[in-house]
Symmetry: C2
Subunit: 190 residues, 2 copies
């Protein structure tokens, strides 16, 4: 299989850190790899945004640069012809997910994708569990503007838990399948 540059880069990183275990980014990578290998979806990591300050053009070498806050979500691609984009977020809080984990630019980005008919969500690791929280439910909570953190109870009620599977990793597309099925049922009924 052929992967975009940055996935390859991550694999090297993983090989250097054999004990990353339940590291969320690693689990997402093996899941995306599983999807690509099984022709199920084509979802990949975008490059990390870097602000370049100084380049030595003679050597084609970047000599000063800084990591930028991402203004989009980390992963995007295609599933059954649908546009899909998500971010993997870890919180060490046990009972809530602080909204500050998602930058204002990312929130705007989620709104844009939602408005233009894409599938967008957060894959949240909290209290040793993994949840898919759809963009619409995230935005609904955000717009209510009552709290600075999403309570775990809200995530459990509105999100979808995913169990780690040894071969598939975190099969987040199973959640998307369920939602697409419900949507198509609704279209059939109405």
């Amino acid at each position: 299989m052929l992967y975009p540059n940055n996935i390859k880069k991550n694999y090297t990183k993983i090989n250097n850190h054999a004990n990353r275990g339940m590291d969320l980014e690693y689990l997402v990578e093996i899941t995306n790899e599983y999807y690509i290998d099984h022709d199920r979806a084509y979802i990949y990591k975008k490059p990390t945004p870097i602000g370049i300050v100084k380049v030595n053009y003679a050597l084609a070498k970047i000599e000063e640069a800084y990591f930028q806050k991402p203004s989009t979500l980390d992963y995007n691609g295609l599933y059954k012809g649908y546009y899909i984009e998500f971010d993997a977020k870890v919180t060490h809080h046990k009972t809530s997910f602080p909204l500050s984990n998602v930058s204002p630019h990312q929130i705007k980005h989620i709104e844009h994708i939602y408005k233009h008919g894409g599938i967008v969500f957060l894959l949240i690791q909290i209290n040793d569990s993994f949840y898919v929280l759809m963009g619409s439910d995230f935005l609904k909570f955000k717009e209510e503007g009552k709290r600075q953190s999403i309570p775990l109870a809200y995530i459990i009620e509105n999100g979808y838990e995913i169990k780690y599977n040894f071969s598939k990793g975190l099969d987040y597309l199973s959640v998307i399948d369920k939602l697409l099925e419900e949507k198509n049922e609704k279209i059939k009924i109405s």
Copy 2:
């Protein structure tokens, strides 16, 4: 309007180079801006992939890094719920577009997007004209394997010319509209 980081970065670049004129990247940016401002589509530039060699963690500063060959296409996003991805390519050849302008990783990427039902194309500037060449037509030519360059005649016959428009820039979505209409007509007929 709120744009992803790298678009803002490009605008700064543009302001520093007021005479870029018909620079293709600039025209694509003003087109994407037009689409976002008019709520027509949400298409943005991905960050440039960078290979990081040395980081000063104390200063959070990248001290040695190199530009990587992109393995995906530069622009992606959403149009009418469809996944869309493309690259803007300039050739100074007058009568053909060398295939070497598209890296093997990018060709693989085009194949993946096409296979998973996305809209994928190249926006080619050649001989002072602009053409949309759909991924399927690009792959067809590539797979025939006869030539190392796509003749301009093939691009004219299989692609779609776009004229520059002062307010809209290069309205490449007009081509996509036409193709979607034809596709829907076919579905209605069959």
